[in-house]
């Protein structure tokens, strides 16, 4: 674990805009570094979560909470820094819908929750089914940006292998969080 001399509000985030472009959502986030030293942050989306009940989309620029699973390659986040007393913008692009593996396949009445275009209502028990969540009518967008006052470095200690968290989750000291409500219902894409 790196030393933690920074204050949680040294880096603040604000969502400048959320706009649909073709089949994607473009999100612009403005970061402000109030500290007297450069701060380092994750600059790409590591996890997307959508709550169809509240129509809240959370874009996590952080590896916290992600599991280690068998996979093709371990990909580190994209790291950037912002100078002391300066601002920076992150431009994020995410699909305008999310498909998830359904956990309610075959259960009675599982017709998909609000905001879910697809449903798993007619699937047999244990049958593979999905839920499609359209993000075009998202009501609130939340962006969480992991940051630290030191750059990410590869932890070569043997003990690091015993830590269940992903390496960038171990590195991060704080998260800057920004929220933006989408007041008007957007026009669906043509």
């Amino acid at each position: 674990m790196v030393s933690d001399d920074s204050k949680p509000d040294d880096l603040t985030a604000a969502i400048q805009s959320v706009a649909p472009v073709d089949t994607r959502l473009q999100v612009v986030v403005r970061l402000q570094n109030k500290a007297a030293r450069a701060l380092h942050y994750v600059a790409d989306v590591r996890a997307m979560r959508y709550d169809p009940t509240t129509r809240t989309l959370t874009l996590a620029l952080s590896d916290e909470g992600r599991e280690v699973i068998p996979g093709l390659a371990g990909k580190l986040p994209l790291f950037r820094h912002v100078d002391p007393g300066s601002e920076a913008e992150i431009h994020l692009s995410v699909p305008d819908r999310i498909v998830k593996l359904s956990r309610s396949a075959g259960s009675a009445g599982s017709a998909g929750s609000a905001g879910s275009a697809g449903s798993a209502g007619s699937a047999e028990p244990d049958e593979l089914a999905f839920e499609t969540q359209q993000l075009s009518d998202v009501r609130e967008v939340v962006v969480e940006v992991a940051w630290a006052d030191v750059p990410y470095y590869h932890d070569t200690r043997a003990s690091a292998l015993q830590d269940a968290r992903l390496p960038a989750a171990r590195w991060e000291q704080h998260k800057a969080r920004a929220t933006k409500r989408q007041d008007k219902k957007r026009t669906p894409k043509s």
């Binding site: 699973i69 093709l72 912002v82 593996l101 209502g121 593979l128 999905f130 839920e131 932890d155």
Partner: protein
């Protein structure tokens, strides 16, 4: 029953999956006419395999397809099938992990194995992006992430995990990618079996992945990576043509933040179509030759001249002389002009008009490549420029005349370079440095510099660092160089 390809499922549209590509990737792995599919049932198609060949990939497929697996994860033996989910690009796992440019094998939910909590079924799910564009560590390179992963290799990697999942022999997984965990090391060793098999079929020596390093990155994230179209047409990732392209890229643009950001966008757009383009071109030798002579070579010549021009300011006569030196063999120059003419005809003509051009490839380029300003600026416009100059040269223009035309064309082309949003995040001192680099290396003339500054100012009118630097420049000299 053992292995299926998902064709359709509740909750998604019929266009979401790419089962055809899944089977093609499987067929590439097998390279054996004994592989087929049974009739679809319940949204899935079962793979059938009467193996006629040997070698690790075929033996592994044989075992996966023709064995009924009944692992005991602690609560008794149960049948576990493997289901391949191919091409569901917008899939996001329950922990929020997007599956775009990724692949995984999820164990059955009650197995207790890593990843089981993300799988709502009692089957083993092999999930992979059929259009993925990632690079991994090349063996013997000390960890350089420049080895591309093709979709069949990605699928075979996940099949390796699936094989141990359904046999309940999954090895330990660790969070670090360097060194690889025992499980990922085993999957990479299997993956290399397929790489060796593919190279053997092509009559080349295999380029393998480092089993000790499981790290990877998006091809669009820069560093050393994999220009797969140039690799395909010139037959080798280490061919002279590909090395020249790499050199141009790394020495000309990528040394700076703005150059790096340019390539982030460039790679993102490039890899949106190039893996499919390579698949379409793979069996067409005449098309590959046409691309080499009518696209790749002129493009390399152009960018090599730009590198030279970036190192030292070249007058128009020098530019003209450099161009003519590249085309000293008049016979070859005529051949190249003919190839450029064909390329131009492919680009210009509408559907159905270019009988020689494979329709699928042209449709792919029209849909995914040409709309990108990065593709237009870096790949299309330079080739058109070279075509126009070569036509003029073969009509009798001398070095000064070619040079003047070249300079005019560069003045129109260079300042229209796509402007990255990264400029908005730079502190003033860095804006100054980056602009200085662009002006020295690319823009050079007063006309180009003025136009680029105008575009930059219009793009970021409320970014204080950009506005401040441009404002200060106005008070000095128009066209001044940092």
């Amino acid at each position: 029953m053992a292995t299926f390809i998902l064709q359709d499922a509740t909750g998604i549209g019929s266009d979401d999956l790419d089962p055809a590509r899944g089977f093609i990737d499987m067929a590439i792995i097998a390279n054996d006419t004994g592989l087929g599919m049974a009739d679809p049932a319940a949204g899935k198609q079962r793979l059938v395999y009467a193996r006629t060949g040997n070698g690790p990939p075929r033996l592994r497929l044989d075992a996966m397809i023709n064995t009924a697996f009944s692992p005991n994860y602690g609560s008794g033996a149960n049948n576990v099938d493997t289901i391949v989910v191919a091409g569901l690009k917008s899939l996001v796992l329950d922990d929020g992990t997007p599956m775009a440019d990724n692949g995984t094998a999820l164990p059955p939910k009650s197995s207790g194995l890593p990843g089981a909590s993300l799988n709502p079924t009692e089957q083993c799910l092999v999930i992979y992006d059929t259009q993925l564009a990632i690079c991994v560590a090349r063996d013997g390179s000390g960890g350089v992430l420049d080895l591309p992963v093709s979709p069949p290799v990605a699928l075979y990697h996940e099949f390796s995990h699936a094989f141990r999942i359904v046999n309940n022999t999954l090895l330990a997984l660790t969070v670090a990618c360097d060194p690889s965990s025992p499980e990922e090391r085993a999957a990479i060793i299997d993956e290399n079996d397929l790489r060796t098999d593919l190279a053997s079929r092509a009559g080349t020596s295999p380029t393998l992945r480092d089993p000790g390093i499981h790290c990877g990155r998006l091809a669009s994230d820069g560093e050393e990576c994999c220009c797969i179209i140039a690799t395909l047409v010139s037959r080798s990732p280490r061919s002279q043509q590909v090395q020249k392209l790499r050199c141009a890229r790394d020495h000309f643009v990528r040394g700076t933040e703005v150059g790096h950001a340019f390539f982030e966008h460039f790679f993102r757009d490039y890899y949106a179509f190039s893996p499919q383009a390579c698949t379409l071109m793979a069996g067409d030798q005449s098309l590959r030759h046409q691309l080499l002579e009518g696209f790749v070579e002129p493009l390399l010549d152009f960018w090599n001249m730009m590198v030279e021009r970036g190192r030292c300011v070249m007058g128009s006569t020098q530019l003209g002389a450099a161009f003519i030196a590249l085309h000293a063999d008049r016979g070859h120059a005529e051949q190249r002009r003919a190839a450029l003419q064909r390329t131009s005809a492919y680009w210009e003509s509408g559907a159905g008009q270019s009988a020689e051009a494979p329709a699928q490839l042209m449709a792919l380029l029209r849909e995914r490549a040409w709309p990108s300003p990065y593709m237009q600026w870096a790949l299309v416009a330079p080739v058109r420029l070279m075509h126009a100059l070569l036509t003029r040269y073969l009509a009798g223009a001398d070095a000064p005349a070619i040079g003047r035309a070249f300079t005019e064309a560069l003045d129109a082309w260079a300042p229209e370079v796509p402007i990255s949003t990264l400029w908005a995040g730079l502190p003033a001192a860095q804006v100054r440095r980056e602009l200085g680099f662009c002006e020295r290396a690319l823009l050079q003339t007063t006309k180009s510099k003025t136009r680029f500054r105008q575009r930059l100012g219009e793009r970021f009118p409320d970014i204080t660092a950009v506005a401040g630097v441009l404002g200060r420049l106005q008070t000095i000299h128009k066209g001044d160089t940092w």
